[in-house]
């Protein structure tokens, strides 16, 4: 190869790498310019020396590892990690440049993409066409018994013919080649799978096959590495070579490890999904209302979160009946253990049991009122004025309820509420009062500012609720505040004039 040719190729590599951001590997180079892979590697080395600044280089490092029993490893290593990795090898090891690219791709498979596409195109050429993949002309191993058959017909007997050793170096047994040719169609189908897929099947190839791959020095490998050794390595090398080899040879994947890995994954998923599932289901059943509730509970003390969700899990169908029959005390039974464990302020709730009878008699009236109000609210969702009125009066009703039920615990009161939801069903809920106010707020976020003005002035409950959920109540105020802060002269802010002098 003359000097000028080399320069041309180097220029081309540069434009490919820096302008088109293509990964240029020695294989691609070798096939594209019909060079031997050794020359291609040499070219890449020259290129890296001359233009390597700002580019990423992937090396292949192969040799025996220091561990015992010693393994033969081939690794793909980014230039930055090369010294580190080299320490793992003992004695003599090979370091070749594999590819040059603008950046190390996120998906390691992208490293093989360019050469994969190229290989695909070469194979797709009519069988009469002579190209570098029809034989192993660039392989470092030669086998003088193999004849190159451009026509693509397979003759096993040819293997023994010694008279014509073609013009180029040949390497693999004709038996292997026969398989390749006859499998061509299949391979092309396979090759439409993406690299990731292929990587899997490669991983699963049986040792026997890998051994055979080893012995039949395949044309792409200039470093003879048993493929099965790669299993122990990082994903990169497994994915990469695997994807390619599988395409080239059309090897049938045999499942060995695959099963175990999928099982692992499954159980993994199961583990994760089990815990949150019930509560999720609960939340999803009730549509919009439940969503609102869910949000509120997240703000409640951590410990009783889960239990409470369960309490309020009324599916739509049973909803009405359950509410009218079940007294507020029954949910409390569920929640009590938790409450006792966790929070002081919920201690007074025990009183609720004593007064629950009173409350029952109270509640129907209230809920009747509420129902009418909320119905009107829901019917005219857009009119914020109506909402304000409705909620305002509701809020007035609440304090009285609160006083009856649990005077000593102003923060959390159970209340029976009925309303018509957006799908036209009547919904009655037993809720902690403060929770419900939040739910309302959530619904009315668009008008929340106005509502806040209306509410906060006169209602104890509202105030409490707001205190408990600063994120909602104060959001508007905070934002305004911070903006004001920006406009007001900030004394901590440095002045640029103190850093730069006038010219």
């Amino acid at each position: 190869m003359t000097h000028t040719e080399t320069l041309n190729v180097l220029d081309e590599i540069e434009s490919l790498v820096s302008d088109q951001l293509q990964v240029v590997s020695y294989k691609w180079l070798s096939r594209n310019f019909s060079l031997s892979s050794k020359t291609a590697k040499g070219l890449l080395k020259d290129f890296v020396e001359k233009h390597g600044k700002g580019l990423e280089v992937v090396y292949t490092v192969s040799g025996w590892l220091k561990n015992k029993p010693s393994d033969y490893h081939t690794m793909f290593v980014a230039s930055s990690k090369l010294p580190e990795v080299e320490k793992e090898f003992k004695g003599t090891y090979l370091v070749h440049i594999y590819s040059v690219q603008a950046s190390i791709p996120m998906d390691p498979a992208a490293i093989w993409n360019a050469e994969f596409v190229q290989a695909e195109e070469l194979f797709r050429q009519p069988s009469a066409t002579d190209n570098c993949l029809r034989d192993n002309r660039f392989c470092a191993f030669s086998n003088s018994f193999v004849k190159r058959i451009v026509e693509g017909t397979t003759e096993n007997g040819m293997a023994r013919r010694t008279e014509s050793v073609g013009t180029t170096v040949q390497s693999k047994s004709s038996f292997q080649k026969g398989t390749v040719l006859s499998n061509q169609g299949k391979r092309f189908q396979n090759s439409s799978l993406n690299a990731g897929h292929q990587a899997n099947s490669e991983t699963n190839a049986t040792p026997a096959q890998n051994q055979s791959a080893k012995s039949s020095s395949d044309k792409e490998k200039s470093f003879p590495v048993p493929a099965n050794k790669k299993n122990g390595q990082g994903e990169k090398s497994v994915t990469g070579t695997g994807g390619l080899l599988k395409n080239m040879w059309g090897r049938v994947p045999v499942k060995t490890e695959d099963d175990s890995t999928t099982v692992e994954v499954k159980s993994h998923i199961a583990d994760h999904s089990e815990a949150p599932k019930p509560s999720h289901d609960a939340n999803n059943k009730g549509g919009s209302d439940d969503e609102a509730r869910d949000v509120n509970f997240k703000r409640a003390p951590k410990n009783d979160n889960r239990k409470r969700k369960v309490i309020f899990d009324f599916s739509d169908d049973e909803f009405e009946d359950v509410i009218s029959l079940v007294s507020p005390s029954s949910p409390k039974v569920n929640s009590l253990p938790d409450v006792e464990l966790s929070s002081k302020d919920s201690g007074p709730e025990k009183h609720d049991a004593d007064v629950s009878l009173e409350r029952k008699s109270d509640e129907p009236e209230v809920s009747e009122e509420d129902r009418q109000k909320t119905a009107s609210i829901d019917a005219s969702t857009t009119s914020s004025m109506e909402k304000i009125q409705g909620i305002g009066s509701e809020a007035q009703a609440n304090p009285s309820k609160g006083r009856i039920t649990a005077p000593s615990s102003p923060k959390r009161k159970k209340v029976l509420k009925s309303r018509i939801d957006d799908r036209g069903r009547e919904i009655t809920e037993v809720v902690w009062e403060e929770t419900e106010t939040n739910a309302k707020k959530k619904e009315d976020t668009d008008t929340s500012k106005k509502l806040n003005d209306g509410k906060s002035a006169n209602t104890v409950n509202r105030a409490v609720a707001q205190k408990k959920s600063p994120a909602m109540g104060n959001a508007a105020a905070t934002k305004a505040g911070s903006k004001k802060g920006g406009n007001v002269k900030d004394h901590k802010q440095g002045n640029i004039m103190s850093f730069f002098k006038r010219v």
């Binding site: 951001l21 603008a102 802010q493 004039m497 850093f499």
Partner: protein, 263 residues
């Protein structure tokens, strides 16, 4: 006589959009090396420095150094009349009191002339020394923009700290706090997606998010942004303008409480 022909007219439009919010009036300085601007915001906290090198223009003629005072709002109004594919030519006479923007459509079938009055602006030109920065962070510009936008909903000050773990953007407000940590990541499909952190010394500085947000108006100009930090210096937020120059924003840090504050 001044005549600058910029084929990629949209660049100039984007440049204007990225500085007009920070600065109202500014002097554009034209010399044989290029078209530049340096201006401070009204509170003298931030400084913007723009350079468009002469090589980036298809045609660049500047007989003698010229300083043109322009209202950036008005200039932006005029440039908005140019199409994104238009070729923009800036023309001015020595000693004249107007500047002309000429917009040519790519097919040359439409030519528009906009003449704008110049103004006299007293501006203080600051000498910006070349400095070694303790830490330099290069990251995707839209990521930076997103971080500033998100943090400004929580608080009004961002603390940018660079350690060997990465770069951390944090803020605190009445509703809570926020921390965003980015780690060096060069394993990306496109070089512009990389997050590159060069740290010589760890550094931590606070800045007003209001200004940071106005810096991110330059995001359309470049895929990457470079943030250079030094404990004794204003932060530099730099966006490259195609191959022809840059916009650099300098922002004075907020001073720690114990130090004396300037009135």
């Amino acid at each position: 006589m001044l005549e600058l022909r910029l084929v990629q007219g949209s660049l100039l439009k984007k440049v204007l959009e990225s500085i007009k919010d920070l600065v109202n009036d500014a002097n554009f300085d034209c010399s044989s090396t290029g078209f530049s601007l340096q201006a401070m915001d009204s509170s003298h906290v931030a400084l913007v420095s723009l350079l468009l090198r002469s090589e980036g223009f298809e045609h660049y003629r500047c007989d003698r150094n010229l300083s043109m005072g322009m209202n950036l709002g008005n200039m932006s109004k005029m440039l908005r009349c140019a199409g994104n594919d238009d070729i923009i030519t800036i023309k001015a006479d020595d000693g004249g009191d107007t500047v002309t923007f000429m917009f040519e459509s790519p097919t040359q079938d439409k030519i528009a002339d906009f003449e704008m009055k110049l103004m006299d602006i007293d501006s203080e030109h600051l000498g910006i020394p070349d400095a070694e920065y303790h830490s330099i962070v290069r990251m995707p510009s839209n990521e930076f923009s997103r971080i500033c936008k998100d943090l400004s909903t929580i608080g009004d000050t961002v603390v940018i700290s660079v350690t060997k773990e990465g770069v951390k953007f944090s803020t605190a407000g009445d509703i809570g706090t926020a921390n965003i940590v980015l780690r060096q990541n060069t394993t990306v499909d496109k070089p512009e997606d990389a997050i590159v952190i060069e740290m010589n010394e760890p550094v931590s500085l606070s800045f007003a998010l209001r200004y940071m947000n106005s810096f991110t108006k330059a995001t359309p100009l470049s895929d990457t942004v470079t943030i250079s930090l030094s404990s004794e210096l204003p932060v530099v937020v730099e966006y490259k303008v195609a191959e022809m120059g840059y916009i650099r924003y300098y922002l004075a840090p907020k001073i720690e409480e114990e130090k004396d504050t300037k009135p």
